[in-house]
């Protein structure tokens, strides 16, 4: 092990030691002696990253934490005691875990099979199947439930057609809708992991006489164990905090996330909402922490001498996987397809003739919320690229004593459910004494909220790409006399831009479809598209709600296509845009 390059993957202990050395006076003084404008600026960069994170993530969380302890009798645990003391609360916790664990289990198995089929078999139409798996990402999460009700409701297409009489509402409804909702996220992680394989391992396994099952258990599964963990936790987090699906299809089956919505929207009980929000924060934060601790950056387990996998022809295998993948893809297409179909019918499910009348939205702002969403998406893309890119650059390149805390701060939003963040924003920014009160009620705050809601994912995309750009470029540039700004401008940014386009698209997409955080922040002039869908659905304009969803999907798909064509035109076919 070369001592000189030890710095590449600092262990926490090493990091801590380095922190100590950095703050020891002697070293500090020596560093300051060489201080010029650049060194000063460089020292300020971590602050530039940390400040907005503190302001837009920690500050609202502190407010919500404070609210949870605020009782009519003053500060205390009164809210916690009154919430947690009830059997209803225990029931909600049980329900949340029942739904989340079942969904996680099912999703992991299905997504693994699907990803395996795409990456490790020779089924035909792989690209199409890959695209089908990702369809749910393009739409507001509500769409899964919307489609399921249209298909499998008591008066849904299936029951009407076959004269059957079953009900989708309740536990299984939530589970199925949730599986559909999170499937693409798990699929993406598995797909990326299964795409990396060392052919030599598989050849040796075959030469040693291992059968395919044994090879799978001994080679494939172990090499993807971190992906299993990672997607397990992503799915867990998403399902645990999603309220759109349980709201539409859950019937009377309540979970913690819907309870927050209830407490705040229904009963105007911010203290209780804050308590349950904090409670919701706990398992999610634990899940995120556990995932980081278990995987600890060991995702890349493959040596650089690895040879790409050559998939052997094997008809029975391909037939088996084909027969598994086809129905899965069909379900995904059917659920979204029926929503699109319903948007073009005269009156679902009674008059099925073609009609465009639902695209003439008779809501107060008409189609305007869609434009708002697009503005917000564009702003979020801009701010998100700067925030995530700068965060990745500072934590990967600047190497200050703040690296550890800063990294934590950058990924902390992954542990904050959207609705908790939104609630925190209202409490924190809608206060005349707040220095940022002027932000409240602006499209900008919605964009900022979206950026920090999805900050962790955007940051990780940028950070992974930053890791792949060798640190020696920075050193080479410094040795040649380049300031770090010049390095950034001439070297790092030109190498990073395709990834940054990906980050921008990511933030745009999420801004278009997200509901949970922004629902607390909209004002008359800042209504957004996903909320319009919810309101239309609430009003009972099912067809119009479907039509609005279709508009959102169309915008998302359109932007994706433009970005894809742009990247392809510059020869960056390998940059994936859907995360």
């Amino acid at each position: 092990m070369a001592l000189s390059r030890q710095e590449d993957e600092p262990s926490p202990r090493l990091l801590f030691r380095r922190m100590l050395t950095m703050i020891s006076p002697a070293v500090f003084v020596r560093k300051m002696k060489g201080a010029d404008g650049e060194a000063l600026l460089r020292g300020l960069m971590p602050l530039l990253v940390a400040l907005p994170l503190v302001l837009f993530v920690l500050y609202p969380m502190v407010h919500i934490l404070g609210r949870s302890f605020q009782t009519p009798e003053g500060a205390g645990f009164g809210n916690y005691i009154s919430v947690m003391g009830t059997s209803r609360f225990l029931g909600l916790v049980y329900n949340s875990f029942a739904v989340t664990l079942m969904t996680t289990g099912i999703t992991l198995i299905l997504a693994y099979v699907y990803a395996y089929a795409i990456q490790r078999t020779r089924i035909p139409f792989k690209n199409a199947f890959r695209l089908f798996a990702l369809i749910p990402v393009f739409a507001p999460s509500l769409v899964q439930a919307q489609g399921l009700v249209l298909l499998l409701g008591r008066n849904g297409l299936i029951n009407r057609t076959f004269g059957t009489d079953f009900s989708i509402y309740g536990y299984w409804g939530i589970v199925i809708a949730s599986v559909l909702y999170v499937f693409p996220y798990a699929f993406l992680i598995f797909s990326a992991s299964l795409a990396m394989a060392d052919n030599r391992l598989y050849e040796s396994s075959r030469i040693l006489g291992a059968g395919s099952v044994r090879t799978f258990l001994k080679v494939t599964l172990p090499s993807t164990r971190f992906a299993v963990m990672a997607s397990g936790f992503v799915v867990f987090t998403l399902v645990m905090t999603d309220f759109g699906n349980p709201m539409v299809i859950g019937g009377d089956y309540s979970v913690l996330a819907t309870e927050v919505y209830n407490q705040v929207i229904g009963q105007a009980n911010f203290e209780m909402g804050a308590v349950i929000g904090m409670v919701l924060l706990l398992p999610v934060a634990l899940a995120v922490a556990l995932e980081k601790w278990l995987t600890g950056g060991r995702n890349m387990e493959i040596s650089d001498r690895a040879q790409p996998l050559r998939i052997q022809p094997h008809l029975p295998r391909d037939l088996a996987f084909g027969s598994l993948v086809l129905p899965m893809a069909s379900v995904i297409i059917a659920v979204v397809g029926v929503v699109i179909f319903a948007s073009f019918t005269h009156l679902w499910p009674y008059r099925m003739e073609f009609s465009l009348r639902h695209y003439n939205f008779d809501v107060q702002n008409g189609i305007a919320p869609l434009w708002n969403s697009i503005y917000i998406g564009l702003m979020a893309a801009g701010i998100g690229v700067i925030a995530a890119g700068l965060g990745a650059w500072v934590t990967e390149r600047c190497r200050t004593f703040m690296d550890g805390p800063l990294y934590f701060l950058c990924i902390a939003p992954a542990a904050i459910p959207g609705m908790v963040l939104g609630l925190g924003y209202v409490l924190a920014f809608n206060h005349p004494s707040s220095p940022l009160a002027m932000l409240y009620g602006s499209l900008l705050l919605l964009a900022v909220c979206n950026v920090y809601h999805y900050h962790a994912q955007g940051f990780l995309i940028a950070s992974t790409s930053m890791k792949q750009i060798a640190g020696t470029y920075d050193e080479a540039s410094a040795a040649l006399g380049g300031s770090f700004i010049r390095t950034l401008r001439k070297i790092t940014l030109p190498l990073m831009w395709p990834t940054l386009v990906g980050v921008a698209v990511f933030f745009f997409m999420r801004s278009m479809v997200t509901l949970s955080a922004v629902i607390f922040l909209i004002t008359p002039s800042t209504q957004v598209a996903a909320v319009s869908v919810l309101m239309l659905e609430d009003r009972g304009a099912v067809n119009q709600a479907a039509a609005f969803s279709v508009c959102i999907m169309a915008v998302v798909v359109g932007v994706l296509l433009v970005a894809r064509l742009l990247l392809n035109a510059f020869g960056y076919r390998h940059i994936s845009l859907i995360r």
């Binding site: 001592l3 560093k31 020696t472 040795a479």
Partner: protein, 344 residues
């Protein structure tokens, strides 16, 4: 430009990478840091370049204190093991980079780039991107890039270790030629002893963050001071100092009894010398014929009952006809060819 390094030390998380390293480099000299991986040679180079800060010690360039100067202001040329050519810039743009940083006028930059690319015989490849060039070509561009801004010092961090043997040899000559042509003070890090011996004016051998020995290559080869240097550079029989093998003590300290000695295999002669002194017999254990060279291991029985048999390696010119395993042969060693070594 001369460089003076005084008592530099550096540790990474409790592991000492450099321990009180001192060195002075003369103007126009080429010095090699040589040692196994992990010996701290690259760390030292990076500290000199300003890419790493030392925990203690100081550095002076022509008497000027360097310790507070950031890398980009030191005006040193650095060539990295991994080339580190900016992948988004053409060869010419890479070479021009340092000049642009120094705000050279455009015309001057163009001329200098042309000149530097010609120097490394890559005038025709100016417009190519790094990935369109071979490894050797990339490293030539890197060399040109490092030299373009007229650096006061050239630092080479294992510049050739990623290259094929043939390209490596070519580039060794090339670097040496350019270095001597420009008379630029150069420090090169390598773990390849042949490379160090053939290229450097002086070699500094390092182990575990400390300097083992510094000197001209042939000096180090001929007169290693300790067993580590002896074995790391070339082959050497390192034996306990026994009475059977005579040596001329070059150790100044009177009365200190040397414990180990070293003899180069080519200095172990078989059945040739007329003198009685220093002659003893060994049994042939193994013969390896390398064409122009024959390597023989011989077993020398110990005289005292308690010590084990010694294995001595000898190298003969030619095919070594008539050598057979098991044959007992007389050996002789000239006392002046025996080095007293420190144990390391």
């Amino acid at each position: 430009m001369s460089l003076e390094i005084r008592k530099i030390s550096k540790s990474f998380g409790g592991v000492k990478a450099l321990d009180d390293v001192s060195l002075s480099v003369e103007t126009g000299e080429m010095i090699c840091f040589l040692g196994p991986s992990g010996c701290g040679k690259t760390t030292l180079l990076r500290i000199i370049a300003g890419l790493e800060y030392p925990d203690g010690g100081s550095m002076y360039l022509d008497g000027r204190d360097l310790s507070s100067l950031p890398a980009r202001k030191r005006n040193f040329g650095v060539v990295f093991q991994s080339y580190s050519l900016f992948p988004n810039l053409s060869a010419a743009a890479n070479v021009a980079y340092g000049l642009e940083c120094r705000r050279w006028p455009g015309e001057k930059i163009r001329k200098r780039v042309e000149e530097m690319l010609a120097l490394v015989h890559l005038g025709d490849h100016a417009r190519k991107l790094p990935h369109q060039l071979s490894g050797g070509q990339q490293q030539r561009v890197a060399l040109a890039r490092a030299l373009a801004p007229e650096p006061s010092l050239l630092l080479l961090d294992e510049p050739l270790s990623a290259l094929d043997a043939q390209v490596r040899e070519e580039l060794q000559e090339e670097i040496r030629r350019v270095q001597q042509h420009l008379k630029i003070t150069t420090i090169m890090v390598t773990h390849d002893q042949e490379e160090a011996l053939s290229m450097a004016d002086r070699v500094m051998v390092m182990k575990d963050g400390t300097v083992m020995q510094t000197g001209p290559p042939m000096d180090i080869y001929k007169r290693p001071e300790n067993s580590f240097v002896a074995r790391f550079i070339g082959k050497m029989n390192v034996l306990p100092a026994q009475k059977e093998i005579p040596f001329q003590s070059h150790v100044a300290a009177e009365g200190s009894r040397p414990r180990i000695i070293g003899i180069r295999p080519e200095d172990v002669q078989i059945a040739c010398c007329g003198r009685e002194e220093g002659t003893f017999s060994g049994v042939v254990d193994q013969v390896v014929r390398l064409g122009n060279l024959t390597r023989v291991s011989l077993r020398v029985e110990s005289t005292g009952g308690r010590e084990k048999d010694l294995l001595i390696l000898s190298e003969l010119q030619g095919m070594g006809e008539g050598l057979e395993v098991g044959a007992s042969l007389p050996l002789c060693i000239q006392p002046e060819n025996v080095r007293v070594l420190e144990w390391h």
